[in-house]
Amino acid sequence: MREETRREAVWQFLTYAFILLGAILTLVPLYWIFVASTLKESQFLSSTSPRLAPGDSFFANFQSLQARENVQFVGHVGEMTHYIDLGPFYIAYDFWNLWNMGAIESSIFVAGVYTLLSLLLCSMAGFAFAKYEFRFKKPIFYAILATLILPIQLLVIPLFLLMSQLGLTNNYWAIILPWAANPLGIFLMRQNMRSIPDALLESARMDGATEFQLFYKIALPTMKSSLAALSIILFLFQWNLFLFPLVILDQGKYTIPVAINQLVGAQRVYYDQIMVAATLSIIPIFILFLFLQKQFVSGILAGSVKE
């Protein structure tokens, strides 16, 4: 007995050590990004002695970042300018002008809308591929998979052309719609949905459920952790998109990667401002991840089908 508990203890120790090592290695560069955002550029870039302690220039750097004319990183309060004239008084109604969106808000908005839309589309498509038979299933699936491989650089020009024809330039929908059917997402959902026991679906059918109810009431709830993983994938995909948003959006609507790239000037790279922007842009993701951790619950399928 004691042998077993000793072995158990060793495992636990090794596991913890492994995890901690991983966490430390992961955090070092991130920590450096944070430290860099608090230092003046010259302090950060001198490679003679790597500085590990944070400095005190965070707000100064942040202010220079916000002061830049060609990029608005964090939004600011605006003014309502549309009024209904009722004689003795005015009523302003354009609440959307109260806040001028900066890059961070734009990114959060776009990535959020995209994730919700794409979650639905990808899980439906994944369900179709995993649990249904239809003609052309294989070719369609492989075609969708093949688009995964396409590097975005070459897609930019035809996509841009398409968007101009559709009148969607400088419009957030132009970057949300093209990849709403995200091949990565469809692939993931298909792989994960294969583990749903067919017997479960059959018995539900025999109880008179419609196909959509099968999807909505059985498949989705059991896929909570996969959906959480998918959300992360989708959100991050949109968050990090750079080349196409650069080409299709104009200044007021820049997302974070485009905004940060503006800081790479003609000859100079404004490292201190870049680091501040990078640090700030990690925060929303951090919050999202923490929030989604609750969904990683295991064993939902346990006991759902009697062997």
Partner: protein, 459 residues
Amino acid sequence: MTNDDRKSVGRRNVLKGAGLAGLAGLAGCVGTGDPSSDSTATQASGGSTDAGGSTTTTAAQAAMAQSAEVWGWDVAAKALNLLDEPYEEANGGDVSINQIGRSDLKDKFKSTLLSGSGAPAASMMESVDAASWVDTGGLRDISGWLDEAGIKGDFVSGKWGPLEKDGGTYALPWDIGPVGTFYRRDVMDEYGIDVESVETWDQYIEEGKKLPEDQYLLNLPSNDYDGLWRMMFRQIGGQPFTQNGAVNIASDKSLQVARILKRIRDSGVANDLASWSSSWFTAFGDGTTASLTAGAWMEGTLKAELGDTSGNWGVFKPPAVESGGSRATNWGGSNLTIPAQVSEEKAKRAWDYMAYALGREESQLTMYREYGLFPALETTYESEAYDDPHAFLDGQPAGRMFAEIAPNIKPYRYTIDTPEVTKAINTHFRDMMAGDKTPKEAVDAAASQVADRTGRDLA
């Protein structure tokens, strides 16, 4: 059942018939190739992206658009902003300047060029990119308007090379970077180096040896050998490509430059920090690196980055490659260009703006005074603005010196394969500096690499 079948067949036929009839009706309105209603004038100005569709009148009679958008980066865009109000007062149009980061602007602009839509009325374009951008055919030929305005001769003649192709002119020159060697007065004085007596590079190197071990005369950046090479190569009249496009970077002149660079490295007077890095700036700030050969615009950058060294700097003409040789060369410079896809009215407005901003002495001098953009407009060189003392340079009227250099800048043949030359020089000069190749081997290897990858002949 059969009744139904017959009825549905009947219905299907009617639908088919109606469809065909409809299509036939449309046939007269649909076609490929150019519709006859368009005039050739529309073709010349390219497909319109404005809601207005095709234009109707010829160029000479087209009205000017009320507003236009111009793209520029950093300092240049800010300089144009100075001209916003004066222009509106003078010519009535509202031109907005869109400031975009340099590499982003290039990516965005190229995408609009290649996809044929979304381009602004005018955009900034560096001379080094001009050849390849012109080559796409996406830029508008302004030679007609240029002749009308008669200002071509007003600009430094060396600028026009990359902007012209097959008799057309595709951009208007804006600024140039006449080269000067900026130096730290205090460091030079401390070690008795007299820059005014220096005429050639070899002399400069000799003087540089007076500096102690840990101080350097200049910096040879490990990431940018081609910048220095190109500067010196142009100075002695070298051309990277011959008239008929053969690769010429292994010529004697190029070899001469390579040898000088190697001598500089071997003499120990050169630092080797990556240019534009923070440590590069720091070295100038504390005098570890005592001089910097760069375009006139560098003064603005030094002022911005190393403001507290103001008054400790001076500038002299860059050393000649050989005694009696030219001391005039260029580093950098941009232009404004109009994309072909833009409508006639917008193009006219853009041209009007360009002529105002770049073709008028007053505008150019304003931008020079505020932001140090050295005008390519030669007629400004008489102006007293160039005699202004520069506080940063301890009162030296540096402008006058640059104004003397500018007209003597030799033209340079940039082509669409210039990026290949840049890469090749950097790669092989790195070997040369490390001692793995002789200068001759380095330039030869660079030339064959370019010839290989571009399919051109060797000169």
